[in-house]
């Protein structure tokens, strides 16, 4: 079993240099398929014998992307486009792009014409999940993705491989949930930045490999005495909470992340694929119906505020920090209701603007300091 700090450092290194992770897999003779944020059928890539690798933007200077996207496109897509155009993703065999918001619809086309060296595979998830026909439709979308993946590998994915992949992914989900629970008892070791790295790194490892590392971390944590955190505790919600400087501001103010509802983090792991109920593709399609609380997936009733209130109560959190990715319109529609419902539940909430290309964090620092005093 690896040392706790060594394991953490390994995951942090992967987040800081995902390219090195990709090169490692390429050197092993594996093919890598990029998976655009926020949702992509990673399992199909995995079951096809390739490595799915998350594409969640990053800090860069936007140059070439400006020829494709206006300034008011979200920073994640701006960065993905820039990296695609400047060659940072060279080596990927393809990218999968979910057309799940208006900007992502366009990204399927911008990538197609702008980054011709890496083929784009578009997937359109159903939004009317109450319609029973949505499951068959999603299966057909998966089949379309599989055909394009088979063109990369030269062979079709087997049902056995998919079932094994689903088992691996469900085990990984369980492990990540177990980590979240263990982390909440060790907020001295699992700082906001460390917590984020453990979650985000899942996008840069083959999942069983990541599961093993995280299980080592959990075991390491369990060997330590439970920490009675004396500072403030918050729940993070939104698409993502990056870059690291933002997380450091939380730590600087004695704020720990007790739980999260981030699309990039816990939302990825809270819906398992059913173990029974049909073939692999059908079960994967049914998993889509289990996802909740994501602004990009249609749900009636604006339930996020209520869910967050429950999450805060369960985690003993003092408040919620809503991480608003700049120019993310699905999030902007949820924001007023989410804040209203939290206010009604007596839970303090502060919104901060997330921009991966940000160079100055003083506004966020002031906002967090004020919020901390409020708590």
């Amino acid at each position: 079993m690896a040392d706790l700090q060594e394991s953490i450092a390994r995951l942090q290194a992967a987040c800081r240099d995902p390219r090195a992770q990709m090169d490692r897999y390429l050197a092993q003779g594996k093919k890598v398929v990029g998976c655009f944020a926020p949702w992509a059928p990673e399992e199909l890539v995995h079951a096809s014998g390739m490595i799915p690798m998350g594409m969640w933007g990053g800090h860069t200077e936007l140059k070439s992307a400006k020829s494709y996207l206006p300034a008011f496109a979200c920073s994640i897509m701006q960065a993905n486009m820039e990296f695609g155009l400047n060659g940072a993703y060279e080596g990927m065999s393809a990218v999968i792009i979910p057309a799940i918001c208006d900007t992502l619809r366009c990204m399927t086309q911008n990538w197609r014409f702008g980054v011709k060296s890496i083929p784009a595979i578009a997937i359109v998830y159903p939004q009317n999940r109450r319609s029973p026909a949505s499951t068959d439709y999603l299966i057909s979308e998966y089949e379309g993705v599989l055909l394009q993946l088979a063109a990369l590998t030269g062979c079709m994915m087997s049902e056995t491989a998919l079932c094994e992949t689903i088992r691996i992914y469900n085990e990984h989900n369980r492990t990540m949930r177990e980590f979240a629970a263990a982390a909440a008892e060790h907020l001295d070791v699992i700082t906001p930045q460390v917590r984020h790295a453990v979650f985000k790194s899942a996008f840069f490892f083959e999942k069983s490999e990541h599961t093993a590392i995280v299980q080592d971390i959990i075991a390491g944590l369990k060997a330590l005495p439970v920490c009675q955190w004396s500072g403030k505790k918050v729940v993070l919600t939104g698409i993502m909470c990056e870059p690291e400087q933002v997380l450091d501001i939380l730590a600087d103010n004695g704020i720990a992340v007790a739980a999260d509802d981030l699309v990039q983090e816990s939302q990825q792991f809270r819906a398992d694929t059913p173990e029974t109920g049909g073939g692999g593709l059908k079960r994967l399609a049914l998993q889509w119906n289990e996802r909740y609380g994501c602004s990009l997936i249609h749900e009636l009733g604006k339930p996020r505020g209520g869910e967050l209130a429950k999450l805060c109560a369960g985690a003993g959190a003092d408040g919620v920090i809503n991480c608003m990715v700049k120019f993310c319109d699905p999030e902007e529609y949820d924001q007023p209701w989410l804040e209203k419902d939290l206010r009604a539940a007596g839970i303090p909430c502060a919104s901060i603007e997330i921009d991966q290309q940000n160079a100055s964090f003083e506004q966020i620092r002031t906002r967090v300091q004020t919020f901390c005093e409020l708590l």
């Binding site: 020829s67 494709y68 996207l69 206006p70 008011f72 496109a73 897509m77 057309a99 799940i100 918001c101 208006d102 900007t103 619809r105 366009c106 990204m107 399927t108 086309q109 911008n110 197609r112 014409f113 702008g114 578009a122 359109v124 159903p126 939004q127 009317n128 319609s131 029973p132 026909a133 949505s134 068959d136 439709y137 057909s140 979308e141 379309g144 602004s295 249609h298 749900e299 009636l300 009733g301 604006k302 120019f327 319109d329 699905p330 902007e332 529609y333 949820d334 924001q335 007023p336 209701w337 804040e339 209203k340």
Partner: protein, 435 residues
């Protein structure tokens, strides 16, 4: 919209400058549009008074369903465009971005409508400039073929008003065609929606009535497309911006016989102009261009004044023809509504539709409206501009604007951009005439 948006009638500054020029009488078709729009709102009001359920609908929802059921339905996008065009948007934008807590980044149609809804719901005291003719809905009809923001906007309306949403998820088309699996999914949703809507409203579905409505709708789509295509005559029989006036007939009343009468009248008026070699375009047609994107409603008159100054007539638009929806059964309806809006189609489809319009209409340039409200239009516009300009060999320009938020436009920028486009079009024209 209760008022038509005849840009020639909406240019007071210009009218003041011109010495006692006799005002051109309004075309009969425009008067008919006014009557039809008034009837739409009045019928909804009366239905509400009778205790019947009234709906609000996304603009490219299969209108024929509500028409078959005899439901009164109003259209927030159309209504807010009218508010914006009449320069009445400001208090609603302030309300939405202030007390209601919405971001400035969002679609201005949504922002106006959410604030208007707050007034109807007793949560805001903003004065309604139209006296509340957009009566409070009892249900919502939603499709996302235009954009995903509509899905979120209607989610919020449903929560705000505590009313149901009847939703058809039309799915974006990354392929050049609508896949059969999409047709099956959308068809199943249409069938379910009809059942649910009947149960909710107490109405009964009548296949014969639907066939009749479908026939009317097809006739109207044909006539609308035909009118748009008549713009291929040189000079064009009307000023292209005038076609925006007729969109309410196609958006809100596609399945009605009153629309057939309006469209027939419009076609007849255009043919008369062609026969007589006249045009309603208020200047000599020097240049013919296409317009990409929704109208910049708050500055329609400034747009027209500027274009008129150079004799530029907008003879093709990527926008209006989205409502020329052709099909002949429910499967066809599913396919047609998946493919109606180029916002829901991939860049190849978008390019081929625009290229066809540019060449058919003999356009010499394209004006792209970088509509701050509409990411789905803007986020692939730059690539479309490059490819289309290369394919068609015509120059383009773009300007920053908004379909309803007056703050996102600069008159000086628009004028400079048009001036630049004219210089290139002029050079091209001269080069052509010099062989």
């Amino acid at each position: 919209m209760s008022d038509t948006l005849n840009p020639t009638a909406a240019a007071p500054a210009q009218a003041a400058a011109a010495p006692a020029k006799p005002k051109r009488p309004k075309a009969k078709s425009l008067l008919m549009i006014g009557e039809q729009t008034n009837a739409l709102f009045e019928n909804a009001r009366l239905a509400k008074e009778r205790g019947e359920k009234v709906g609000w609908s996304a603009s490219i929802f299969p209108q024929e369903i509500a028409e078959t059921l005899g439901l009164n339905v109003l259209y927030p996008e159309n209504h807010t465009a009218g508010i914006a065009a009449r320069h009445q948007a400001d208090p609603f934008l302030q309300e939405c971005e202030g007390p209601m807590g919405y971001s400035n980044d969002l679609c201005a149609y949504a922002k106006l409508n959410l604030a208007y809804t707050a007034v109807l719901n007793g949560e805001s005291s903003v004065e309604l400039p139209d006296g509340g003719k957009m009566v409070k809905p009892d249900f919502l009809l939603l499709t996302n073929n235009i954009c995903n923001q509509l899905t979120k906007w209607y989610e919020n309306l449903a929560r705000q008003l505590d009313i149901p949403v009847f939703f058809i998820d039309t799915c974006y088309n990354p392929m050049d065609y609508v896949t059969e699996t999409r047709v099956r999914y959308v068809r199943a949703q249409i069938d379910q929606l009809i059942r649910d809507l009947c149960a909710f409203t107490g109405k009964t579905w009548d296949d014969e009535r639907f066939k009749k409505v479908m026939e009317i709708s097809q006739r109207n789509s044909y006539l609308w497309e035909r009118a748009n295509n008549l713009m291929d005559h040189k000079p064009a029989p009307i000023g292209g911006f005038e076609l925006f006036n007729y969109m309410s007939a196609m958006v809100c009343n596609r399945g009605k016989e009153s629309t057939t009468a309006i469209m027939e009248q419009l076609n007849a008026e255009m043919e008369q102009h062609i026969k007589e070699g006249t045009s309603t375009f208020p200047a000599k047609e020097e240049y013919r261009v296409s317009w990409d994107g929704i109208a910049c409603w708050p500055y329609l008159s400034h747009n027209l004044r500027t274009l008129k100054q150079y004799g530029i007539n907008m003879v093709a638009s990527s926008y209006g023809k989205a409502w020329a929806i052709q099909y002949d059964d429910l499967d066809g309806m599913a396919r047609a509504y998946c493919f109606a809006s180029t916002n829901g189609d991939n860049a190849s489809t978008m390019l081929s539709r625009r290229y066809e319009a540019l060449t058919r209409m003999g356009c010499e340039g394209t004006i792209y409206h970088v509509n701050r409200s509409c990411k789905v239009m803007d986020c692939q516009m730059m690539e479309v501009q490059r490819q289309l300009s290369k394919m068609a060999g015509v120059p383009f320009t773009s300007f920053d604007g908004d379909q309803a938020d007056y703050r996102n436009y600069s008159e000086a920028q628009f004028e400079t951009r048009i001036q630049g486009l004219v210089e290139v079009m002029k050079q091209n024209k001269e080069a052509k005439s010099n062989g």
